[in-house]
C-alpha cells in the first residue's frame, strides 16, 4: 500500500517518544500535586484553619485537571506495546506484562477509586478521613511509578530471566530479582523526587504569578511557601538520588555515561568537566570546550584523582561482548549531543529551581515579607512553573536514548521490536492524530487551569455566612 517511502520503525519510535513524553508531563504533575494537596489537607486537620482546606480545594482543582489528562494519555501506553511493538511484546511478555498488570491491580484502582470518593465527599467525611482519601490517591500514584519503573528497569538492566531455548523469548525465572533490580532502586527515588519537584514548583510558580498580579496575595503567599519548602527538599533529594544513579550508570552503561559527558577517550587524571562543548559524532571530536578542571573526578568518584572511561572504550567492550550474537555491524554509539545537553539542561534546571526556592522563601518570610515588591522574582518563579517539564523530559531522554541500540539492554535491538503487520501509512496517520489531539489537550488544560487560577480562592470558599439560606426550606422548619 502507500508507504511514502517511509518505514515503520522511525514512525513508531517517534510515536513512542511523543506519547510517553506527553504522558509524563502529567504523571509527575499529578504525583506532585497530590502530595501538596495531601499536605495542605493534613495541615487543615492539624491546625483546623479554614485557609488550608481552601488551599487543598483550590489546588485540588488543578490536580484534577492534570489527573484527567494523565489518565487518558496513560491509556495509550497500556495498548501501544501491542499495537506498535508486537515483536517486543512477544519477546518480553513473560516479564514485562506482569508489572503492568500489577500496576493496574494495585495502583490504578487505588488512585481512581479514592479520587472518585475524595472529589465528592468534602461534606460527608470528617476532615481526618477525607485527608486519608487524598493520601490514598498519592499512595496509588506513587506505587504506579514503582511498578512501571520495575518494567523499565528490566529494559535497562535485565535480571531474573533466561532465554527460552524452545521459543527464543525471554522468560522470567525470579520475580524477586525483578523487584530487587538495583537499577530500579536507583531510578525510583530519582523519578519520585522529580515528581515532587514538579508538583511543588507548579504550585509555587502559579502562586507567584498571582502575587505578581496582586490577587489574593496572602493566600498565594502561603501556597507558594508550602510549594517552595517541598520543592527545595525534593530538589535536594533528586540531586542526591541523581548522583547515586549517575555513578551506577557509569559502571553499568559506560556508553550512556560517556555520551552525557561527551568523552570519547579515557580522560586525564584528574578529569576536567565540560560545561559546554560541540561534539562531532562522525569525527568523534569535541570543539568549543569550556571546562572546569578536576570537576568530573569529583562528580563521578567524589575524589580528586581518577580518570573516566570514554565511549570508545565502551564501544570496544560492547563489541567484544555482543558481536558473536548480534554481529559486528551493530552501532553502539548513542546520540551524544542530545545526551550531553540534556544532562546539562537537567542539572542547570535543578540548580535554578533550588536557587529560586531559596530566594522565594527568603523574600516571603513572615517577619519581612516583601515578595509583592520583588517583581523580578515573582516573574522568574512564574516561569519556573514550566521548568520541571523540561527537566523531567531531559532526564528521560538521557535514560531512554542512552539505551540505544537496545530496547532491552543486551537482549533485543530496537529494530527487532517493531510490529511487522502495521503499515507506515497507518502509523503516520496515528502520529498526526495524536499530535493534534495532544496539542488540543494541552491547550485546553492550560486554558482551564488559567481560568481556575484567576478565579482565585474565593471560588472554593464555602464559609456559611456567604450562603443564602432559604427560610422556607424544610430544614429551616425542622430546626
Amino acid at each position: 500500500m502507500l508507504d511514502f517511502g517511509m518505514s515503520v520503525l522511525p514512525l513508531a519510535r517517534f510515536q513512542f517518544a511523543m506519547t510517553t513524553i506527553f504522558h509524563f508531563f502529567f504523571v509527575p504533575m499529578s504525583i506532585g500535586l497530590s502530595l501538596v494537596v495531601a499536605v495542605m489537607e493534613t495541615m487543615y486537620v492539624i491546625k483546623k484553619q479554614k485557609i488550608y482546606q481552601n488551599m487543598a480545594k483550590f489546588w485540588g482543582k488543578i490536580f484534577l485537571l492534570s489527573f484527567a489528562v494523565g489518565v487518558v494519555t496513560g491509556l495509550i501506553q497500556e495498548f501501544q506495546f501491542g499495537m506498535n511493538w508486537s515483536e517486543y511484546s512477544r519477546f518480553m511478555g513473560d516479564i514485562f506484562g506482569a508489572p503492568l498488570a500489577i500496576e493496574a491491580l494495585l495502583a490504578f484502582f487505588l488512585e481512581s477509586t479514592f479520587i472518585g470518593v475524595w472529589m465528592f465527599t468534602w461534606d460527608r467525611f470528617k476532615p481526618f478521613w477525607h485527608a486519608v482519601m487524598i493520601w490514598m490517591v498519592f499512595l496509588g500514584s506513587s506505587i504506579s511509578a514503582l511498578w512501571i519503573l520495575t518494567a523499565n528497569s528490566f529494559m535497562q538492566h535485565p535480571v531474573g530471566f533466561k532465554i527460552s531455548s524452545a521459543t527464543g523469548r525471554a522468560q522470567m525465572t525470579s520475580f524477586k530479582a525483578l523487584l530487587t533490580n538495583p537499577q530500579l532502586w536507583y531510578e525510583f527515588p530519582h523519578v519520585v523526587f522529580g515528581a515532587f519537584v514538579t508538583g511543588a514548583f507548579i504550585m509555587a510558580g502559579m502562586s507567584a504569578w498571582m502575587i505578581f498580579r496582586k490577587q489574593s496575595t496572602e493566600f498565594f503567599r502561603k501556597s507558594m511557601r508550602i510549594g517552595l519548602v517541598i520543592g527545595f527538599i525534593a530538589c535536594l533529594g533528586s540531586a542526591a538520588s541523581g548522583d547515586l544513579q549517575t555513578r551506577y550508570v557509569m559502571n553499568e552503561q559506560p556508553m550512556k555515561f560517556g555520551a552525557t559527558e561527551g568523552i570519547y577517550n579515557k580522560t586525564a587524571d584528574p578529569a576536567p568537566w565540560a560545561i559546554f562543548q560541540l561534539t562531532n559524532p562522525t569525527k568523534k571530536t569535541a570543539n568549543a570546550k569550556i571546562e572546569v578542571p578536576d570537576m568530573l573526578s569529583i562528580l563521578a568518584y567524589h575524589r580528586l584523582n581518577a580518570s573516566v572511561k570514554g565511549m570508545n572504550e565502551a564501544n570496544t567492550s560492547l563489541h567484544q561482548k555482543y558481536d558473536h550474537q548480534f554481529g559486528k555491524k551493530m552501532n553502539y554509539y548513542v546520540p551524544v549531543n542530545t545526551l550531553f545537553f540534556a544532562f546539562r539542561t537537567m542539572a542547570a534546571g535543578f540548580g535554578a529551581l533550588a536557587g529560586l526556592a531559596v530566594l522565594g522563601l527568603w523574600f516571603s518570610r513572615k517577619r519581612k515579607n516583601t515578595i509583592g515588591k520583588q517583581r523580578w522574582l515573582t516573574i522568574l518563579l512564574s516561569i519556573a512553573t514550566f521548568g520541571p517539564f523540561i527537566v523531567n523530559t531531559s532526564g528521560w531522554l538521557i535514560t531512554e536514548l542512552g539505551r540505544d541500540p537496545w530496547v532491552v539492554y543486551g537482549l533485543l535491538p530496537i529494530s527487532a521490536a517493531v510490529s511487522p503487520s502495521t503499515s507506515a501509512a497507518a502509523v503516520l496517520f496515528t502520529n498526526i492524530v495524536y499530535f493534534l489531539l495532544f496539542l488540543a489537550l494541552a491547550s485546553f488544560m492550560f486554558f482551564y487551569a488559567k481560568k481556575a487560577l484567576y478565579k482565585g480562592p474565593e471560588s472554593v470558599d464555602d464559609t456559611p455566612d456567604q450562603k443564602t439560606e432559604d427560610p422556607f426550606s424544610k430544614e429551616a422548619f425542622s430546626k
Binding site: F79, S89, D94, G97, E103, V117, L437
Partner: protein, 341 residues
C-alpha cells in the same frame, strides 16, 4: 493446556465482563446525557451519577489489557497490532470521553459545557461501537501468518457481523446506562429513562436475529461449539426479554441485573466460541491457541498469586466506594451545587 492457562483465559473474559457491565453503564449514561435529557441540568444530573465511578470502572479495561499482556502475551501482541486502526479509534474515543468529564466541570460558558457534554455523549457511543466491532472481528477467521502476525484488510474490520456487533454492544450499554440512571436518580428522569428503555429494547430483537445469522455465516461458532453457542444465544435473547419486561413492570433492580446478564452472556459467547483458540487463522495451521500464546508456568503462577491477593482487597474498597456514595440524585441536588462539586 494447563489449568493456569485456562484460568487466565477465563480471568481475561471476566475482566472484560466487569468492564463492560460497570463502565458499560457509564457509556450508556454518557449517551443518555443528550438522548434522554433536554435541559443542561438534566444532563448534569445524569453525569453526576457516574462521575465518581467511571474512572475506576475504566481501570478494569486497563487491567484486562495488562492481564492479557502478562498471561497471554502473544494474543495481546497479535490482536492489538492486527486491529491497529480500530483500536486506535477506540482509544481516541476513550481519550475524548475521559477528559470531557473534567473539562465539562471546569468550563464556564454554557457553550463550553454543552460542547463537552456532546463530546461525552458521542465518544461514549463510538467507544462501545468500536469495542463491539473489535470483539466481533476477532472471532472471525483472519489472515494470520506463521509468526502470528495478523494482516487485516478492510473487510476483516468492516463486515456485517462487526457492524451488528458494534450496534449490539452500543445498544446493550445504552440499556445498562438507562437502568443505571433509573436506579441512581429520582424525579422525572428516573421514569423517562425507563420509558425510553422499554422502547429501545424493541431494537434489540431484530439486531439479535441478524447477529445470529451473521454469526452463522462468518464464524465457526456453530461448527466448533454448537451447544454452547446456542445456549448463550438463547440466554442473551432471554435476558433481553427479561430486561424489557422488568422495566415494563417497574422492577428496576431486576431490570438492571437482566441487562447485566445480557452483556455477560455476550462476552461469554465470544470467549467460549473462540476456545481453545484466541485468534482463528484462515489457514488453520496458523491459528493461535491458548496453550501456545501464554506466559511461562512460573509467570502464570506469580500472576495468579498476585491476583488472588489483590482482587479481593480491591473489590472490597471498590464496592465500598459505590455503597458510600449511593444516593438517588434529583434535579434539586444539581441546582443547589451549580456545578458538579
Amino acid at each position: 493446556m494447563s489449568f493456569l492457562q485456562l484460568l487466565w483465559y477465563a480471568v481475561i473474559g471476566l475482566l472484560f465482563i466487569i468492564f463492560l457491565v460497570l463502565d458499560g453503564a457509564d457509556f450508556g449514561a454518557g449517551m443518555a446525557t443528550k438522548l434522554l435529557a433536554f435541559r443542561p441540568n438534566e444532563s448534569n444530573l445524569i453525569l453526576r451519577t457516574i462521575s465518581p465511578h467511571w474512572d475506576g470502572n475504566e481501570v478494569f479495561l486497563v487491567t484486562a489489557a495488562g492481564g492479557m499482556f502478562a498471561s497471554l502475551p502473544l494474543w495481546y501482541a497479535s490482536l492489538f497490532s492486527g486491529f491497529y486502526l480500530l483500536l486506535f479509534l477506540a482509544l481516541v474515543s476513550l481519550i475524548f470521553r475521559g477528559v470531557s468529564f473534567e473539562f465539562n466541570n471546569v468550563a464556564e460558558t454554557p457553550f463550553g459545557k454543552n460542547a463537552w457534554m456532546w463530546i461525552n455523549c458521542i465518544s461514549s457511543a463510538t467507544t462501545t461501537f468500536f469495542f463491539g466491532m473489535l470483539f466481533t472481528d476477532m472471532i472471525q477467521p483472519l489472515p494470520i501468518d506463521k509468526n502470528g502476525n495478523v494482516f487485516v484488510s478492510l473487510s476483516n474490520v468492516i463486515n456485517p457481523l462487526s457492524i451488528l456487533g458494534g450496534i449490539a454492544l452500543t445498544a446493550f450499554c445504552l440499556y445498562q446506562g438507562l437502568h443505571y440512571i433509573s436506579l441512581h436518580t429520582d424525579g422525572m428522569i428516573r421514569y423517562k429513562a425507563a420509558r425510553l428503555n422499554i422502547n429501545l429494547y424493541w431494537l434489540a430483537y431484530p439486531v439479535e436475529f441478524l447477529f445470529v445469522i451473521a454469526l452463522f455465516f462468518q464464524t465457526n461458532f456453530f461448527v466448533n461449539h454448537l451447544v454452547a453457542t446456542i445456549v448463550f444465544l438463547v440466554l442473551i435473547v432471554a435476558s433481553t426479554i427479561s430486561g424489557q419486561f422488568m422495566t415494563f413492570s417497574d422492577k428496576e433492580i431486576k431490570a438492571y441485573l437482566s441487562s447485566t446478564l445480557s452483556i455477560a452472556f455476550l462476552v461469554m459467547l465470544i470467549f467460549t466460541g473462540l476456545f481453545p483458540n484466541v485468534l482463528i487463522a484462515k489457514n488453520p495451521a496458523n491459528s493461535l491457541l491458548i496453550k501456545n500464546v501464554s506466559s511461562s508456568p512460573y509467570t502464570l503462577k506469580v500472576m495468579t498469586i498476585v491476583l488472588c491477593i489483590l482482587l479481593p482487597i480491591l473489590l472490597i474498597y471498590f464496592a465500598w466506594s459505590y455503597s458510600v456514595q449511593w444516593k438517588r440524585f434529583t434535579l434539586k441536588d444539581i441546582a443547589k451545587n451549580g456545578s458538579q462539586y
